[in-house]
Symmetry: C2
Subunit: 346 residues, 2 copies
Amino acid sequence: MKKQRISIKDISKELGISITTISFIINKKAKGRISDEVIKKVEDYIQEVGYKPNSSAQTLRTGKTKTIVFMAEDISDPFFSAVAKEMEEIAYKAGYKIIYCSTENNKKRALELISLFQDRQVDAFIITPPEGFQNAIQDLISQQNEVVMLFDRRYKMLNHNFVVLDNYNGAKSATEYLIKQNCQQIAYIGLDSDFSCMIERNGGYQHAVANHQAEPLALFLPFQHVNSDKGKKLFKEFIKAHPKIDGLLYATNGLAINGLKVLKELDKKIPEEIAVITFDDRDLFELHSPAITVLSQPVPDLATELINGTLQLLKSKKGKVDPYQKILPGKLIIRESSQKRLDPII
Amino acid sequence: MKKQRISIKDISKELGISITTISFIINKKAKGRISDEVIKKVEDYIQEVGYKPNSSAQTLRTGKTKTIVFMAEDISDPFFSAVAKEMEEIAYKAGYKIIYCSTENNKKRALELISLFQDRQVDAFIITPPEGFQNAIQDLISQQNEVVMLFDRRYKMLNHNFVVLDNYNGAKSATEYLIKQNCQQIAYIGLDSDFSCMIERNGGYQHAVANHQAEPLALFLPFQHVNSDKGKKLFKEFIKAHPKIDGLLYATNGLAINGLKVLKELDKKIPEEIAVITFDDRDLFELHSPAITVLSQPVPDLATELINGTLQLLKSKKGKVDPYQKILPGKLIIRESSQKRLDPII
DNA sequence: ATTCTTTTGTAAAACGTTTTACTAAATCGT
DNA sequence: ACGATTTAGTAAAACGTTTTACAAAAGAAT
């Protein structure tokens, strides 16, 4: 019952044509070297017997694996898994496969994963780097063995490839929307992090409230407390310490979920007492009572840019190439949680 | 700057020891063949220079890729991505990598994916088969080229490997819980599908209501309408047609999400007017108002069984082995949405 | 001292490609 | 008709392993 795989050698024997010729034909390098007649004959035979090249042999010979690694912060996070799924779709069509993994925002783990996949000779890394990973990225890039594409966060000083959201303007427009809704005291709930996305989001918020309220109000939670009870406690204390807060901008969906639980526990009315907006859309937010206004990331566009950029870089790997840098705009999806004004904005 | 990979040949030259000997040592086949002294020398050198075998060469020679494919229905579904993440963790430690992909419950696509990964010589498939896939699975198994493990759904008549939830008893206990809550008319919202999990869940429901209400009440939505407006419309009509319904069991989290939207639109009070339970836990359900009672699947256990089972089968591939079959119990997590009784059950 | 084992090791083929360097035949320009 | 060029094709090395079959040296048994 075992299906025997057919090799170039088999074709060669069967057709009485040399291995070299067949390889040229398979790799579309036959034009001008081999007669159309022979090309046709070989192509037809390949079609007929369903020959597929052995990828290990190809890799061994060429050093290319046609594999891209996507190292997300957490592949089970809906945002990352949505991006992953879209990427897989596109990569698949281009003959590439994707391997996913999660850094858990753990530097050591991320380093191990990079080392593991370097051993496996992947062609490219798409990475959401964990905290304090700049040097590691620097190293990885300078080795020049793989294409390195950063996602979601970038480094200002590195001349590298990245695809990120326009975090600054996203946060700014979300905050400005809250201001238009007559919020007087808008607070920002962010991650205690040096991620560019976090710094930019906070920057956008700061800019928007600069001429609006006496001083910005921000809470920065450490990564490990985003989902924890400790995080809830810290957030609860923050809200209690600032009773005048009537508008909230959460920097991530994780923060929002825990934050919404706290607001529920505190029995705060949304949006009457506190208007709420968060980054990243999830079906959860649409179903929430009240439905949560979000600044959603353009998942299909992000995925497309990530893969197309990576594939482009893989193709042009030889000479110096300009870095692939894309900053994509988010979209404010207005739902009930931010509609504070009785006279709605048109 | 490019780091040059070191090969066995390099070690051989450097140490003046034959390639064969080194290979034996690397593969722990040196005992009794090679002196302890030489073994130590080689191992130390390998450690020192950080040699890692080239996996393509190994694959080319052995035909084994140390790769497992996880074909989920939809890898961006939180349930599947949670399982995927856990699996990756375990597989990674065992030196295996996992490739994920989504069938989208599309038979043609699933067949293409299988063919693609067979070409890439993966060692094992973990599959949630799409609709009408039994023959394809049959074929795949009989080819005996890869280990085949089914997940989430199984085929009664096939003597195959699987890891599934105890769907029957899960649905039964959820329904019985609704009965205890004094629900008089309990409806089941399922998928119009021949998946074993769907049939078993419906079976559990049917059994539970058999002696309770005049007749079972069930709505079966086609797969493509789970998330669609059409699905919402069908569900809305169903609810309107059966105004006496005061208890609902959703067979999947996707059905529940769309269903909850409809209940919100119809302004049905949960649980006062309709008590609700759904399969599969998600953070969304905890945050929902009211929080939704769920029958949750033991994600870590499922992932562990899937990988351990697969690895075990990979090891013992030679002779006939008993199929690896696990049925894991779910857990009813009681929240507000099902608490209909004023006098709560103790 | 010869044969028989055991110990310790190695040579070389094979896995299935890609690619360089080559050749034979055909065509061309004059 | 002659060398030059183009066309059509191939032989063989290389990628880095694993593994079979063999061999030399040392020790044991006769």
